[in-house]
C-alpha cells in the first residue's frame, strides 16, 4: 500500500480585473460557457484561489443550460467536487436546469445563531459544566443516533413540515419559525419521491450534530460594527454570549443527493445536455426529473431545519440547567437560521426583467436586504441576518443582506472561511500538536467526539474569515454587523 500525493496544478487561466474586489472569467475562456464567471476576491485572496482549480469549476458551472447573469464565486471559494464550494448559479425556471451537484450532498447544511442575556463573565466560571451538558445532550460524532424515536411514517411529517414539526412536538417555540430562512420549510416537499434508503438513514439521525466540519459553539461578542442593526438582531453589547449551531441533513441528505445524481445522469443523455463534468449532471427545472429532485431536496432541507430546531431546544435546556433559569429568562432567542447548501426558486431582476430563477447556493448564504418580503417582519427595516462562521480558533461574523447583493449575486454572499489546506495536510502538519491544548491557550475550551476531526478542522486549514468578510464588505454584497469569538466548542 502506498500513499503518494498528487498535487493539483495552479490555475493559469486569464482573469479580467473589474475593480479591487471583482475578477471576471470571460465567456470565451472556453467554448461551451454560456455566461462569464465572476470571482469576488482581493489581490491577496485571488492568489490563494488560483493555487487550485476552483476558477476552472466556476467556468464549468457557466455551461449549465439556462444560466443567467454570471457564474459567481464568493471570496471563500475553494475547490469542490463539481461545483466549487462558495459558488452561486441562477438558472431560469422556464428554460434552465437544476443540478443536485449545485447543492451538494449535505443539503441545507446551515447555521443557526441564538443570543443570550448572559455575559462572558457569567458564563466563564460555568463553561466546563455547560459544555459537558451540551456534549452529553446533543448527540455528535460519527454514527451518533438521536434521542428522538420517530414512529414509522412520522418521518414523512418531518419532511413535509420542517422546523414546524419540531416546534409542534415541543422542541422550541413558534417564534423560532419566524426567524428561520423560509420559515424552516421549503414548500413542495414530497416524501413519496424520497427513497426508503434515505428514510432509513434519516430516522435514527434526527437531532444529531454529526461530524466533519459540523459544530456547536459558545461565542462572545467581540466587536459591534453597526450598533443599530446589531440591536435589531438582539446583539447589544461586547461581551454578550451567543450560541452557534452548524449542521445539516445528515445521512438523509447524502442519500437524496446520491439517488438523484443517478436520475440526472440519465437525464443528461435524454435531454442532450453537454457538460464538462459528470458531477454537474442536471435536468430542466420543469422536467419530471427536475421537479422530482426539487421535491426530494425540499424534504432534505426540511429535515435539516427540524434537526437544527431540535438541537437548539436541547441547547436551551442545557443553558437553563446550568444557569438555573428558564431559557426565556436567559433571553435565548433565535437570531436567525440560514441554509448555505440549497437551491431555491426565487424572483430576481436580470437586465431589467423580473425572472423566476432557480438559485443554487453551494457554500453561499442568502443575503436579502431591508424591505424584502422574505425577510422576517422583525428585521424588515434592517435586512436579513447573514451568519458567517469561521474556524474554531478564530472568529465568526454576523452580517446583513444588501441591495447590492440583490443587484449582483441574486441576493447571496459568503458562508464561512473556506479551506486552504487539505485535511491530511492539516493532520500531517499538526502531528503531535495537542489542538485542544493549543486552543485552551487561546481561551477556547473544546470537546470533540474524535481527536482526528479536531486536527482536520484546525485554524491553519482555513482562510482567515476576517479577510473573507473584508471582501464581501468591500464589494458591498453584505455588510458586517458584529464579530464574535469562540470560548467553547463542541465538535463531532
Amino acid at each position: 500500500m502506498s500513499k503518494g500525493m498528487e498535487e493539483m496544478p495552479r490555475w493559469e487561466g486569464k482573469l479580467t480585473k473589474i475593480d479591487d474586489y471583482r475578477w471576471q472569467i470571460e465567456k470565451d475562456y472556453k467554448p461551451g460557457m454560456r455566461v462569464p464567471g465572476l470571482i469576488y476576491a482581493d489581490e491577496h485572496m485571488l492568489k490563494v484561489i488560483q493555487e487550485e482549480q476552483a476558477p476552472e469549476q466556476v467556468a464549468n458551472v457557466a455551461f449549465l443550460p439556462g444560466i443567467v447573469g454570471k457564474s459567481l464565486a464568493m471570496p471563500d471559494i475553494h475547490w469542490g467536487y463539481g461545483f466549487p464550494i462558495g459558488g452561486v448559479a441562477a438558472t431560469e425556471v422556464d428554460e434552465g436546469v437544476v443540478s443536485p451537484g449545485g447543492v451538494g450532498f449535505d443539503i441545507n447544511c446551515g447555521v443557526r445563531l441564538l443570543r443570550t442575556n448572559l455575559t462572558e463573565g457569567q458564563v466563564k466560571p460555568k463553561l466546563e459544566r455547560l459544555l459537558s451538558q451540551l456534549f452529553v445532550n446533543i448527540p455528535s460524532g460519527l454514527g451518533s443516533e438521536g434521542r428522538i424515536r420517530l414512529r414509522e411514517k412520522e418521518i414523512d411529517k418531518v419532511l413535509i413540515e420542517g422546523a414546524a414539526w419540531a416546534v409542534r412536538h415541543g422542541y422550541g417555540e413558534e417564534e423560532d419559525i419566524e426567524l428561520t430562512e423560509e420559515r424552516g420549510c421549503v414548500r413542495g416537499a414530497d416524501p413519496g419521491l424520497v427513497s426508503e434508503k434515505a428514510k432509513k438513514r434519516g430516522v435514527p439521525q434526527l437531532g444529531t450534530l454529526g461530524s466533519g466540519n459540523h459544530f456547536l459553539e459558545v461565542q462572545v461578542v467581540d466587536e459591534i460594527r453597526d450598533p443599530i442593526v446589531a440591536e435589531a438582531f438582539g446583539i447589544e453589547e461586547v461581551g454578550q454570549v451567543l450560541l452557534l449551531i452548524h449542521t445539516g441533513s445528515r445521512g438523509f441528505g447524502y442519500q437524496v443527493c446520491d439517488d438523484y445524481l443517478k436520475t440526472m445522469g440519465a437525464a443528461v443523455r435524454n435531454y442532450n445536455i453537454s457538460l464538462p463534468d459528470r458531477q454537474l449532471a442536471c435536468a430542466p427545472v420543469k422536467s419530471p426529473e427536475g421537479k422530482a429532485y426539487l421535491a426530494a431536496m425540499a424534504c432534505a432541507a426540511n429535515y435539516a431545519w427540524a434537526n437544527r430546531q431540535c438541537i437548539s431546544h436541547w441547547a436551551r435546556e442545557c443553558f437553563a440547567n446550568v444557569f438555573s433559569k428558564s431559557a426565556k429568562d436567559l433571553g435565548l432567542r433565535l437570531i436567525y437560521d440560514v441554509a448555505h447548501n440549497i437551491a431555491k426558486i426565487e424572483e430576481h431582476k436580470v437586465n431589467g426583467r423580473r425572472l423566476r430563477l432557480c438559485v443554487h447556493r453551494k457554500g453561499a448564504t442568502r443575503a436579502f436586504p431591508a424591505g424584502h418580503p422574505d425577510v422576517p417582519a422583525r428585521y424588515h427595516d434592517v435586512g436579513q441576518p447573514v451568519l458567517i462562521p469561521g474556524d474554531m480558533g478564530r472568529c465568526s461574523y454576523v452580517a446583513v443582506g444588501t441591495e447590492k447583493a440583490m443587484e449582483e449575486t441574486f441576493g447571496s454572499t459568503c458562508h464561512g472561511a473556506g479551506r486552504v489546506q487539505s485535511r491530511s495536510e492539516a493532520k500531517r502538519r499538526l502531528r503531535g500538536v495537542d489542538i485542544a491544548k493549543q486552543l485552551e491557550g487561546k481561551g477556547i475550551m473544546v470537546m470533540a467526539a474524535s481527536r482526528s476531526s479536531l486536527a482536520e478542522e484546525a485554524s491553519e486549514a482555513y482562510k482567515d474569515v476576517t479577510e473573507v468578510v473584508h471582501i464581501t464588505d468591500g464589494a458591498g454584497i453584505s455588510h458586517t454587523v458584529a464579530k464574535a469569538r469562540p470560548i467553547g466548542v463542541i465538535k463531532g
Binding site: M1, S2, K3, G4, M5, E6, M8, E52, H78, W79, G80, Y81, G82, I85, G104, F105, D106, G141, L142, G143, K197, K200, R201, G210, S211, G212, G251, Y254, Q255, C257, D258, L261, K262, G265, A266, D277, R278, Q279, A281, R419, V420, Q421, S422, R423, S424, E425, S450, S452, S453, E456, G492
Partner: protein, 137 residues
C-alpha cells in the same frame, strides 16, 4: 491487493486504486475508502454482507458500489475491511463485504466520508487497471 494512493485536495479527498483486473480495483477502492473512515487494523470479519448494485456504466457502478457500502456503514454501523468482488459486468456488480460492527472502545474513526462523487471519476486500463474517485468529506 490493496495498492492505492490518496489524492489530497483542500475540500475533499480522493483515491487512486490499482489492481490486476477490474474486480481487484473495485475491492481496493472500497478498502481505500474505509481506510479513510477508520483505522482498519484490528477490525474483524465477523459480519458478511452480500451486495448487489447496478448502474449505467462502469464508472457509475463504482460510485454505486462505494455509496452502497457507505449506506450500510451509516445504517448498520459496520466497518468493512474485506471485499470480495464475485461478479463484475458493465452494469452490475455482486460482492461480499466483511467487517465488524463499530465499537467506540476498540475502533478508531478517522474522517467522515459523506459520499463518493462522479467528479474526475475514472475506471481505466493502463499498466494494469486503475480507478480514480473523489469523495465528499
Amino acid at each position: 491487493m490493496n495498492h492505492f494512493e490518496i489524492i489530497d485536495h483542500t475540500a475533499d479527498i480522493g483515491i487512486i486504486a490499482h489492481g490486476k483486473d477490474e474486480k481487484e480495483v473495485f475491492a481496493t477502492a472500497a478498502y481505500a475508502m474505509f481506510s479513510l473512515i477508520a483505522e482498519l487494523d484490528g477490525v474483524s470479519d465477523a459480519i458478511c454482507r452480500q451486495i448487489e448494485v447496478s448502474a449505467d456504466d462502469k464508472e457509475a457502478l463504482l460510485v454505486a458500489w462505494l455509496n452502497e457500502l457507505l449506506y450500510l456503514f451509516d445504517v448498520e454501523h459496520v466497518i468493512f475491511n474485506g471485499f470480495e468482488v464475485i461478479n463484475l459486468e458493465e452494469h452490475r456488480l455482486r460482492a461480499n463485504a466483511y467487517g465488524e460492527r463499530f465499537d467506540p472502545l476498540r475502533h478508531q474513526l478517522k474522517t467522515q466520508v459523506k459520499a463518493a462523487t462522479y467528479h474526475m471519476l475514472k475506471v481505466e486500463k493502463g499498466n494494469g487497471f486503475r480507478a480514480q474517485i473523489i469523495f465528499d468529506v
